[in-house]
Each structure stands twice: as structure tokens, then as C-alpha cells.
């Protein structure tokens, strides 16, 4: 009996010794875990590098560019500012990309490069830059630098709207009211305009009141209660309802039954998408791929186009 206890005590002592020896390797393992946490973005981001030196961040380059633009504690030089801002944009800074894209409109008409501007805006927009999304939507709606695509413009208006962009909310209301690039829907228009009004759009309230008189008052009361709880999205919505809505609308216009245009990826939408993919000979199941989107946009641009493989 006493031998057994002795053995156990010895085992525990050995265990403690081993653990002591493990202290350093465990520290190492901890560092590796921290690395992994940093990789997956659950820990706070590392501090930005200093604005000088060989490893300057794009954000610092943009800030430096703006200082040169305004002559803020450095000699004013628009050339230097343009160079720095362009470099920041090429390195992926969404604000710099937006600035380059949007200032194209400030050039004299014969010196504009609308196609390049749209490319910069698209780069910023896909990073979730709400202003760029709105500017891109305007480009697609008005055919500035790209062929006009009303249904596709709505995707970008809606994405910007979800982030609380005031004018995007207002335009979604207006476009839904008249059925531009989508279905005409007074209730949805009321909802968008109410949100625009909440976001501080000066004209939205006038339109909201006018539409409010034309919809069922119970419906209006429900909407008002729903809108009160609305908050702009911090990040891009997940799943991407504007894109799903676009796919549903485009499929419906091609004669596929999607079970409604509600922005939800239901079974009927998947079946419709699969049928469309089969018709277009696109690989993939009932999930939206870039190829699906490209083909649907192509079909909407040229409704008479058949599958290019058929020719």
C-alpha cells in the first residue's frame, strides 16, 4: 500500500519536473498560436509602421500625398501628391483608389478617362468602400465609362445602401418606386426612403410621406417599427443579398422560376440557377459563381444572345 503511494508521489514529482522542462517549448508553442490568431484576424492588428522608412504603409502614403496636396507642413506639389496617392492606390488602399476614380469627373471633359476611373472605383468598391460603391452604381446606371446596366447598378446601389450611404439609400428608394433596374415596389421604396431619411437625406422625408399615403396604414406601421431598429451594416452583408436579388431577377427575366425575388438563396433559386447553368453549359452546382454572374449580365445586356458555344 505504502509502496503504491510512493510510486504515485514519484510519478507526480516526475510530471512536475517534465512540465518545468516544457516551459520554454510551451512558450514557443504559445507564440505559434499567437501567430495563428493574428493570421485569422482575431487579435488586434499590429501597429501601423512609421510613415518614413522603406516599409511605408499605403495609408501613410495616402496621408503623405494629401499633405503634399494641401502643402500641409511640406512644400505643396500636386505632382508629388498624385504620385504618392497613385502608389497607395496601386498597393490596395481603397480611399486612394476612390480618390483617383472620382476625381476623374473633375477633369475637363476632353481629358477624362472614364473607363480607367471605373476600374479604380471597382477596386475600391469590392473592398467595401461605400462611396466607391455608390459612384460605381452611378457609372453603371448612367453609362459612364461602362455600358449602362440598370440591374447591375442596383446591386452596387444596394450594397452602398446597406452600409448606410445616404444617397444610395435615397436612390434605392427612387429606383424601386419607379421600377428602374428591378421590380416596382412601393413598400420597399417606402422602406428605403425611411432609411435615407434616418441617415439624414434632406429630400427623403418628403418622398417617404408621399408614398406613405399610398400604402396600407397597417403595413406602414409595421414598416416604421422595423425601420426604427435598422442599423447600417458595419461590414458587407453576409450572405450578399443584393447579388442574390440580382441573380433572382436576371433568372426570372430569362424565364426561370426562382420563387420570388427576396435576396435569399432558397431551394427554388438553386434549382433555377442549376437549370440556367445547364443551359449555358457552366460547371458548378446551385451556387453563384462569377461565371454565372457574367453570363446573366451578358444575357441582360443582349437578350437575344444565345449560348456562344452553340455557334
Amino acid at each position: 500500500m505504502s509502496r503504491g503511494w510512493l510510486l504515485r508521489a514519484g510519478t507526480i514529482a516526475a510530471l512536475l519536473l517534465v512540465c518545468g522542462g516544457l516551459a520554454d517549448p510551451l512558450k514557443l508553442a504559445g507564440a505559434a498560436t499567437r501567430d495563428r490568431i493574428a493570421l485569422f484576424g482575431t487579435s488586434p492588428p499590429p501597429p501601423p509602421p512609421a510613415p518614413s522608412g522603406p516599409e511605408v504603409s499605403p495609408e501613410a502614403q495616402l496621408a503623405e500625398g494629401l499633405r503634399h496636396l494641401h502643402g500641409d507642413s511640406v512644400p505643396q506639389s500636386t505632382e508629388r501628391a498624385a504620385s504618392l496617392i497613385r502608389t497607395a492606390a496601386e498597393r490596395g488602399n481603397a480611399d486612394a483608389q476612390y480618390l483617383i476614380g472620382v476625381t476623374n469627373a473633375l477633369r475637363p471633359p476632353d481629358d477624362r478617362d472614364d473607363a480607367a476611373a471605373v476600374e479604380w472605383l471597382a477596386r475600391a468598391a469590392v473592398q467595401g468602400h461605400a462611396r466607391a460603391q455608390f459612384a460605381l452604381a452611378e457609372a453603371y446606371a448612367n453609362g459612364i465609362g461602362v455600358p449602362p446596366e440598370q440591374e447591375w447598378a442596383n446591386v452596387w446601389y444596394e450594397r452602398a445602401a446597406y452600409q448606410g450611404h445616404r444617397d444610395a439609400l435615397f436612390m434605392m428608394g427612387m429606383r424601386t418606386l419607379v421600377g428602374e433596374g428591378g421590380l416596382m415596389d412601393r413598400v420597399a421604396a417606402y422602406r428605403w426612403l425611411a432609411m435615407a431619411s434616418m441617415a439624414g437625406h434632406a429630400d427623403a422625408q418628403r418622398y417617404r410621406s408621399a408614398i406613405g399615403k399610398r400604402i396600407n396604414r397597417w403595413q406602414r406601421a409595421n414598416l416604421d417599427a422595423e425601420i426604427k431598429a435598422w442599423q447600417p451594416a458595419e461590414e458587407r452583408s453576409f450572405p450578399d443579398m443584393p447579388l442574390i436579388r440580382f441573380v433572382q431577377l436576371a433568372l426570372a427575366l430569362q424565364g426561370f422560376d426562382t420563387g420570388g425575388i427576396d435576396g435569399r438563396m432558397g431551394q427554388t433559386t438553386r434549382v433555377a440557377l442549376r437549370a440556367f447553368a445547364k443551359e449555358e453549359r457552366i460547371l458548378g452546382g446551385g451556387e453563384i459563381t462569377p461565371e454565372h454572374v457574367a453570363r446573366l449580365r451578358q444575357r441582360l445586356r443582349n437578350p437575344d444572345d444565345s449560348n456562344p458555344d452553340d455557334n
Partner: protein
């Protein structure tokens, strides 16, 4: 009678655990101090980047990113590197037009009558963006808001946007769209 041997079943189990622990400790001590966990992270990132368009296709936003990127490549001139992420000129080359456009941002604030003749919705948007630019304390936020505001004054044709608003006005029975208010 029960305890014939020194090592009981419990002790044997404990010994096995201890052995496993010792092996694990040995394995950990064999890791060099300068172990580069970054290589693994890089491999994960590369794998993710490859799979991103496919993964994101199901989820949405990046599907469009991929689509827009594909479109961008599609618009490149023949002979240009298709894998290059941008069709735009590299930094430092031909920044003149951009410099001129950026210079317009630093010009004096447009006079109040700058919105005269502008569609009401644009005038509203311009004023709101200018207010935002004025209130911004951060230089980048100010520049971005200012750029947005100035574009509302640009003589860019936004006929569809204006038409949508005119149709909405007509539908709701607003006589003479708010355009008149800004004149």
C-alpha cells in the same frame, strides 16, 4: 491477493500517460527556437487566395470582385500581361492629369450659386457632402468627402439618375420637380 504485482492497472495507465507526455515534450523541445511559422501561414494564405473566387462565389461579395477583376482584365489592350492585377499605368508615370484633377480639390470652395441649375437631388447631396467634409477632422475623410462633394458639381451627364427622380416626382404628383427650388 488482489495486489500481486507492484504495478497495478491504475499505475500502468498513469505510466502510459507519462510516457506519452514525455514523447510530446521531447517533440516540442526538438522544435528549433527560430522556427518560422510564417512559412505555414504563407502557404495557407496562398491556398486561400487560390480558392477565394470559388469560396466567395457562394457567399457573394468577392464573386463580384472576381467578376469585376475579370472584366478589368477583359478590357486590357491586347499584348498586355493578363495576370497583372491592373491595366493602369504604373506609379510615377503620367501623373499629370491626376495631379490636375487633385489640384481641383484644393481650389477655393465653390460659391453658393454653384448649385444653381443643378438638379435638386444633386444640390442636396453636394451640400450634405460639403457639410461632412467640413466636419471631418481626419485628413483622409475630409479629402474623400470633399472629392465626393465636388463631383456633384461636375458637368457629368447623369441623365438616368435625373430621369428616375423626374419619374418618381411625376408618379407621386409633385408638380414641377424640386429642380425649381434651387434656381
Amino acid at each position: 491477493m488482489r495486489r500481486k504485482t507492484l504495478v497495478t492497472r491504475t499505475d500502468a495507465r498513469l505510466a502510459r500517460h507519462l510516457a506519452r507526455l514525455a514523447i510530446a515534450a521531447l517533440a516540442l523541445t526538438l522544435i528549433p527556437a527560430d522556427f518560422d511559422s510564417g512559412a505555414r501561414a504563407k502557404a495557407i494564405r496562398a491556398k486561400r487566395a487560390d480558392a477565394a473566387p470559388y469560396v466567395a462565389a457562394a457567399t457573394g461579395p468577392s464573386a463580384v470582385a472576381a467578376n469585376e477583376a475579370a472584366e478589368t482584365r477583359g478590357r486590357m489592350a491586347p499584348g498586355q500581361d493578363q495576370d497583372k492585377p491592373t491595366a493602369l499605368p504604373p506609379a510615377g508615370k503620367d501623373n499629370g492629369p491626376l495631379a490636375a484633377a487633385l489640384g481641383a480639390l484644393t481650389q477655393a470652395k465653390p460659391a453658393p450659386e454653384a448649385t444653381d441649375g443643378l438638379h435638386a437631388s444633386r444640390a442636396t447631396a453636394y451640400k450634405a457632402a460639403m457639410a461632412e467634409a467640413t466636419a471631418a477632422t481626419d485628413a483622409v475623410a475630409r479629402a474623400v468627402a470633399l472629392a465626393e462633394a465636388r463631383t456633384y458639381l461636375a458637368d457629368e451627364s447623369r441623365s438616368v439618375t435625373d430621369d428616375v427622380i423626374a419619374r418618381a416626382d411625376k408618379l407621386l404628383g409633385f408638380r414641377n420637380p424640386a429642380r425649381a427650388r434651387t434656381r
